[in-house]
Symmetry: C2
Subunit: 111 residues, 2 copies
DNA sequence: CGGCATCCATGACGATACTG
DNA sequence: CAGTATCGTCATGGATGCCG
């Protein structure tokens, strides 16, 4: 416990977009490339592609290519990827609470 | 739940060092500047200082200055900061498991 | 549709030196 | 002891254009 292995988890979640991608895939089961792109405002194709590749390499998500024209590629979480769910949800919850916390701190500063 | 507030939590944890600092403070209650520096190999003074400042601004840690020569500054987690503990621990645990997962994937690749 | 290749800006991070 | 201050770097992320 003296050494910190949270690095490993953070390495996978870090990046401006990865957790957002995972959130979409946690709530949608299966999504196509452009569905993800639409669901995540501001992300560029390049970023979406690279982040998906990294998540795929880490066995967090699965990439399914349908060899047809026009191409169709579906992304979904792997069973292993599901193990991240509690962490993501905990962070999500904590984040929401933190916003309240900030508001409280702000109103106290106004007194 | 459609929007992802995990951002907020990640913003606080992101950075190469913040989670390591928090881990030390989670396991040690109170630490002085140089104690932290020694406990986290590779970190520079500049990084330690800046990361501590950011955590302090987010009300995660507390900074206690003893006005004396030589100076003495102690850092500890705030009560609010303790709310991050479950997340850090979950990530730590997940990280350890992930290492095993990688080893399994590797040995399978060898078959 | 779902990419990849290229170029470019920014800022996170680091090395080093100095200070009350 | 616990910091600033300054400067340099390199990776991350972003904009754009082309392709099967």
């Amino acid at each position: 416990m003296t050494t910190c292995k949270a690095d490993t988890a953070l390495e996978i979640l870090i990046g401006k977009w990865k957790h957002k991608i995972l959130f979409q895939l946690m709530t949608h089961e299966v999504l196509r490339f452009n569905e993800l792109k639409r669901a995540i405002p501001g992300i560029t194709q390049k970023m979406l592609t690279s982040q998906l590749r990294e998540l795929e390499q880490n066995d967090i998500i699965e990439r399914n290519v349908y060899p047809q024209i026009p191409p169709k590629v579906e992304y979904s979480m792997t069973e292993y990827g599901q193990s991240l769910r509690p962490i993501l949800e905990a962070m999500h919850e904590w984040g929401q609470n933190h916003i309240k916390h900030l508001e409280q701190a702000y109103s106290k500063a106004q007194e």
